[in-house]
Symmetry: C2
Subunit: 271 residues, 2 copies
């Protein structure tokens, strides 16, 4: 089964487009967890236990784990073991390097850590992306139009009248012979999201930027989904993880995730 | 002292433009080291001991260490401790992510591992680069025109008649208020290297692609250096690391490094 099919199945089964970004900051973890053997792992465990029936995916941001050194990698590995098989994992590392190096990253993220999918930076071109594409069951989200202010610096530059990110979208479509490519498109760009969905009517779109970054949930759902109401992965991190800083943090995270799923349901085309 | 000044001083002191890429592959390490407690670390130690007077920098490729998991990070950390302070270190990870994430990567690479400089992917724009630039003593090499075949896919696309990589070069020049930005330009593109050096007459250029990838050493030196014969960092990995697969590997690495330094000297403008 290709990654795209797998994503569709998971979203239909879970009845959810929501992805929780596990961008866990040791400093923001509730006070009462600080005394546990591994506060970040304990935090992740409780977040996952409280929300796994409400999401289609979890997306650990590798930087947050690498910032904790060797212990961070172990925490990431243990976190991945807690995530139920019914839910997908996205290794958000935005890697990108020449072929022989990209192979190492793919091996580490897919084989060693066991991620179902990863984010990849397209700037270095095909041979930097290819090693991630070989296994059609594993997904690759190429950065197209990212949610941050800096997306205007290069991604929006015009090439023959069309922006660079559109060239990335059209190129990704050409490279997608294994049906395992998706695109990262920030919810902070609703008009462009709609246009991108027209170019790739069936491709998974990973849509960050909801919540803290001010992205638009309504358009993310309405314009991000394919015709069957799937393949948009709406990602939120801080608004869910830190919904409460008290002992009720997991409960509060669940309430916020549930609120988002319900709000998304309202705008969904079908299912 | 800014990173650019530091690089110039190191290159003048060491009388070398050579950087050895520590892209160490556990499978390619000589047989007789396989029984040591940590073969990659022992390999690195002997390579560094045999070559440190011949180089201006070492460039560990993070993918090769991450592929070994937690143990790989420890190996990287121990390797960095072996490198003498007279030589610079470049953390080659090509990271790039939104501001709050880029901060984590910068903290990990500069503060935790202690790298003198890093490579960064520019695709996500200013807020993804800024956290790496804050400390003027630490260097940031932005990917401009990379050495691999895929560099043609996006980097060479024309924006108002000028290629994207040139836009990256001119933007980097604008961002360089702390005098700590450099650019990655593959030795496989000699004409473009010459043109880029004209646009940024004083900026450090990290030039990979010599050796296995077929880059041109003569033009890398002649066209990559600033007027004082510095600021080109010519990087080679496999041709030095695996110059011999026998017990004489470190000696053979030294011989190959020495040969390159001598060949480079011939083409150097001054010093």
């Amino acid at each position: 089964m290709t990654f795209t099919q797998k994503l569709r199945d998971v979203q239909l089964h879970q009845k959810s487009l929501l992805c929780i970004g596990l961008d866990v900051d040791a400093d923001k973890i509730p006070q009462h967890l600080q005394s546990s053997a591994n506060p970040v792992l304990e935090f992740n465990r409780q977040i996952i236990e409280a929300t796994h029936d409400l999401v289609c995916a979890y997306k650990p941001n590798l930087a947050f784990y690498e910032a904790m050194g060797e212990r961070g990698l172990t925490t990431l590995r243990e976190t991945l073991k807690i995530i139920p098989k019914s839910v997908l994992t996205i290794g958000d590392g935005k890697r990108g390097d020449i072929g022989n190096t990209a192979e190492r990253y793919a091996k580490s993220l897919f084989d060693d850590f066991g991620f179902d999918s990863v984010t990849v930076n397209p700037y270095m071109g095909f041979d930097s992306v290819e090693p991630f594409l070989k296994n059609s069951a594993k997904g690759v989200f190429l950065l197209a139009l990212t949610s941050n202010p800096g997306s205007k610096d290069f991604q929006r530059l015009k090439i023959n009248g069309k922006p660079l990110y559109e060239k990335v979208v059209r190129t990704a479509k050409k490279w997608n012979t294994n049906q395992n490519i998706g695109l990262v498109v920030g919810a902070t760009h609703p008009r462009e999201l709609k246009m991108i969905r027209k170019i790739v009517p069936e491709m998974p779109l990973l849509i960050p930027g909801i919540g803290k970054q001010g992205g638009d949930l309504v358009s993310a759902v309405k314009d991000g989904c394919t015709k069957d109401g799937t393949c948009a992965i709406i990602s939120a991190s801080r608004s869910i993880l830190y919904a409460s800083s008290g002992k009720d943090f997991a409960e509060a995270a669940r309430a916020e995730a549930k609120r988002m799923v319900q709000e998304m349901g309202t705008y969904r085309n079908s299912i």
